[in-house]
Subunit: 152 residues, 6 copies
Amino acid sequence: MTSQSGEEDDESRSPDGDRLARGRARLAEITGRSGAEVMAALGEVAPDFARYIFEFGYGDIYSRPGLDLRTRMLATVAGLVALGHARRELEVHIGSALNVGASREEVVEVIMQMALYAGFPAALDALLVAKEVFAARDAAPAPEDAGRSDGT
Amino acid sequence: MTSQSGEEDDESRSPDGDRLARGRARLAEITGRSGAEVMAALGEVAPDFARYIFEFGYGDIYSRPGLDLRTRMLATVAGLVALGHARRELEVHIGSALNVGASREEVVEVIMQMALYAGFPAALDALLVAKEVFAARDAAPAPEDAGRSDGT
Amino acid sequence: MTSQSGEEDDESRSPDGDRLARGRARLAEITGRSGAEVMAALGEVAPDFARYIFEFGYGDIYSRPGLDLRTRMLATVAGLVALGHARRELEVHIGSALNVGASREEVVEVIMQMALYAGFPAALDALLVAKEVFAARDAAPAPEDAGRSDGT
Amino acid sequence: MTSQSGEEDDESRSPDGDRLARGRARLAEITGRSGAEVMAALGEVAPDFARYIFEFGYGDIYSRPGLDLRTRMLATVAGLVALGHARRELEVHIGSALNVGASREEVVEVIMQMALYAGFPAALDALLVAKEVFAARDAAPAPEDAGRSDGT
Amino acid sequence: MTSQSGEEDDESRSPDGDRLARGRARLAEITGRSGAEVMAALGEVAPDFARYIFEFGYGDIYSRPGLDLRTRMLATVAGLVALGHARRELEVHIGSALNVGASREEVVEVIMQMALYAGFPAALDALLVAKEVFAARDAAPAPEDAGRSDGT
Amino acid sequence: MTSQSGEEDDESRSPDGDRLARGRARLAEITGRSGAEVMAALGEVAPDFARYIFEFGYGDIYSRPGLDLRTRMLATVAGLVALGHARRELEVHIGSALNVGASREEVVEVIMQMALYAGFPAALDALLVAKEVFAARDAAPAPEDAGRSDGT
């Protein structure tokens, strides 16, 4: 599983152009969304912010070796539940966790566990987001769910 | 690795006495601290709170199957970094993550990743806590570190 | 008023089955909602989470003696305002506070007071939630409001 | 620049009636909303809270000399982004910042910068709020935008 | 008990001088600290901030009728636990709650209950603060504890 | 004042090596600390995190045109006060704000204003940090304070 994240290692100090391209590819791989969608959402308000998401978020952080992507995304779900207010990102990254190999059960376990640290309201709200994400996938399965629809 | 968390499954609706005993054992396994230490810290102020930590925290949540303990503790570290204020718990559970099989590198990766979601100050403060935990372990290695002192 | 919370005292270490039944009854008494509603909201995503809400939340914590229910629910409103993001729970527990004997004026006082500790936006948002809860009760009075509709 | 905030200085310990009038005027100047709108939103739930917003928020704090209003409102935007949950206030005060002389670019810069301190989700959510505020102004320009529509 | 908070009612729109004097008296009554101590802590950095604490915090909010002081201070403890980071204020207001008639047991109940809403770390940290406050009072009893040392 | 932040504009998409060098220079200019100090604090725990602080924090964000540095640092102070838990960063950036031209009075105004949005405890704690920073500067004036010691 670490092979997923290890391959970019020797590029990790590459020039900006590479970070941008690597980040856009990584974002698509993890979230199932294209960089174009992110840029469209931000519109003309802050195009550089989209670039930072690609370059720093996905080109730097999510391209690091040292931790497999499945654990990374489950940790991200945990962090977003603890924040409490990041509903939009939570929805995206519950999907990301599923995209990179976590099961629905694992996502639910991580969220429930956060009740201990961030309280029941944060966990309950996140479980209702997970319920929506799961229902949307059942209604329109993502391609990457195809091979494991019985296992998640 | 999932064998660590799967064994209590058929006890999961057991009576309270079992939850308490199971929780105390689980707490010791994960944190390397005894229930007596937790109770001593709380003193006579709130003995029932210690009981809830054992019963609900460790007897219920951390005894659930469905997610391996290493991932659980890395998710907990992520959540505690995102909270921002839980320094004491963060110190304990960085240790817990190491106790249940996470490497130092993995702990550091999870913390750094939280800079994306909770900001650089939360991540930086947590890295300094990790530095202290690692240094304390180097000075007085926990028994469970013995076999992997070179690898973490 | 303390008689409401004192009667379960000698059951407080009872087996799990009792915690579950006691918690469901307590939840209904406080929130005016049935356990079935809570379970339906969570659906098949996390049925155990509903069980923890019943057992730990209402069977353990809200069944404790030592503090009357009216003060407990006003403290809960205060805590939820301070969290800032728990709109759903705030709406439920503004209702709970009214259900267990707090007046509308007391709920409003607690929320306004939180402006000091959590800032004006958190308090203002919570006052607008209270306004909605009060309006819904005026439109469809809960049975327990019957005897005090003029006084709250 | 300090002339904007300096003129009330010698009234700063004036009686309550003056604080109220000064606060209502200041609120209108900054937010472009009338005190009547604030009171209408709160309705009969908490009229005193509206008074505190006028008296303490605008009559005391926002009437202080020592910092120009443009910087004050950009700092407020920064604080609201960092809070994470204050969407309603953020929308109002992105508008306030524009009303008192900040440019759209400056608002966007402050929000983007908060990604460093409060994380990308808080900043991203705030940028989408800014996008909405800017679009609403383009659709129905505020009078005070008239003279600088090309510069912001 | 409501007589404690009801007496200032008809002064509630009094001039600033009265708010200041009333606030300083109220602060002393509730916290057991003098306004001079608060001002000394702030030193020359922000004397007006001390004035706002007196005038708005204690002269306005804590002088309102409509909720008894004991419930107010227990709600404040709840809110401060939920905030997570307000250790200094929490220490002061655990003392305030005791000063205005809450028992130690009630303070502990409110804190434990917050584990449900803000998580176990926030509640555990707060219990350890309570333990310190109680120990300091045992070592040097406040005068107001004299008459009820057996009852709290 | 905008000349401070405008000069790097045409380098803003430069290769990584430039981002790193630019970021280290910018960090030193703003915080008065060297990159070596930051790296030393992190030690061997997370050297890449220091690199991200330089590259993304200072090389990207704090090298952007569009907002003068004085306003940027006052906005950062506001955001850190609102976070509540970032004491270490707050101390550094109160100093940064002074370094780039903000007066002590302006720093205090921004902090006091945050009482409205994040509550009095967050603002009070931050004022006490400011008091310490100011006292340390009085004891050992930074070179850049030399020319304006009477004015801040």
